[in-house]
Symmetry: C2
Subunit: 266 residues, 2 copies
């Protein structure tokens, strides 16, 4: 892509600037490989921000439009209410202001002092405005449903009972978020400690310093036998599980030991 989001006052990095980026490809990759996104928005009727775990994907519906975030969730009725009432109240139509976070933990970074402990992680935050797509007979809605389903297991949509019935289409909604700005932060490095501790033979001789790699692991698929149907695990599921486990382990283990010089804390 080579494209980047613009820095806004609300998307500035305050600490660990060296870990931060506005690079669109990095941000989209983190969002699109994270199982659960956390979606936050204000509800005028509540003293606390609403926070919902949802499934979503960034995609480009047409080649000449910018990529948008598409969210799918059973809880969309709540967002629907807030969206329409907030639009009525302030007369604007740009949609509900939302912040969406995607975070992947890649390792426990165990350093010499507790204060140098950290995680290896990839974290993205999107800021945008949300609107509901029409529920049925809308090509973009159907496209987004397939995009999100296939993000869970590639090729899943075509291996299920499709097309959706009309009652499925009216009960499920897709939220489309126009991205105003976005950021990512990445730590991908071995354990690091402060110079003061690294120079102290007593500390270095006593405390183990290293990284425990972490990744989301997929187990052997478990068939629902009580349903009495297909018992053989299909190729698209088996292949996905195998490939994901290899890739995830490779990344987490790779970044745990990558940097050779410069053990000082960033």
């Amino acid at each position: 892509m080579g494209e980047a989001y613009t820095q806004e006052s609300y998307s500035r990095f305050n600490r660990h600037k060296e870990r931060g980026t506005y690079d669109a490809e990095t941000i989209h990759n983190i969002v699109n490989t994270t199982s659960v996104l956390h979606v936050s928005f204000a509800d005028p009727a509540s003293p606390f921000p609403v926070m919902l775990p949802m499934i979503g994907q960034i995609g480009q519906y047409e080649a000449d439009v910018e990529p948008h975030l598409y969210l799918h969730g059973y809880v969309s009725t709540r967002i629907m209410k807030v969206t329409s009432s907030s639009n009525e109240a302030d007369g604007q139509s740009q949609g509900l202001a939302m912040t969406i976070a995607a975070t992947k933990v890649d390792g426990l970074v165990l350093a010499l002092s507790p204060f140098s402990h950290s995680y290896n992680y990839r974290s993205a935050v999107l800021f945008g405005h949300a609107a509901l797509l029409p529920s049925s007979d809308n090509p973009e809605t159907l496209w987004a449903m397939e995009l999100i389903t296939d993000s869970v297991v590639p090729g899943r949509w075509q291996h299920t009972r499709v097309p959706p019935t009309s009652s499925e289409l009216t009960s499920t909604r897709i939220i489309k978020v126009r991205i105003a700005s976005a950021t990512a932060k990445v730590r991908a490095a071995p354990a690091a400690s402060e110079r003061r501790d690294l120079k102290d033979p007593d500390v270095v001789g006593k405390v183990w310093q290293g990284v425990v790699p972490v990744w989301e692991h997929f187990g052997e698929p478990v068939t629902n036998k009580a349903a009495g149907g297909v018992s053989e695990i299909p190729e698209h599921v088996a292949r996905f599980v195998e490939a994901e486990n290899v890739n995830s382990e490779e990344y987490a283990v790779g970044v745990a030991g990558e940097r050779k010089a410069d053990e000082e804390e960033e």
Copy 2:
């Protein structure tokens, strides 16, 4: 515990009520075993809610006080600013209103139709008011730092270079959140589909239905050899990695196949 949070207008369940609970023990367990919490609060200077990934733990500092959430993050300077300015502005001292989410994915639930797809998951949301603990020479602050460090790897605090230096203590802050209400949702069951699809031999004969168990897996710890110190992986780290992997796999695989009757979608 046997205790429960009270239902408030902002903590009501709107959908899948059968998955919801206000049980304190369930909620605390989810929060305390989730690697990253997502913290959201309003910033008067931003059109979007702030969203930060942070590390935290629920704990009880003294036996006769209710459990609070303690958060640790390098980004606390931003929260500090918002906290103090919001307190000044409205003259109240109850602290910054925050919503905190903890979500664990336990399985990909692949059903007959895309609309019956789901995750096995454990999700908790806390609503509360945040205040900063004093930075140094405060027993509760030190206690919370140890609590949070040991939540990453049990016993880690005492196996590192402690006590903290005075500069570490002044640069690191702990945020204490008084919990106003809290909820959890849990799905822990095999794949389930709609009766309509389960009765259709064509669908049941073609589409595989099951769960891919998912868990956070810890790899072999990677020593930072360049630091030239302890090369043997210590007992507290090795034991933790082994036990966690066994427990996590057992849970995710267990709930993937547990329910024998009632395959209909909840």
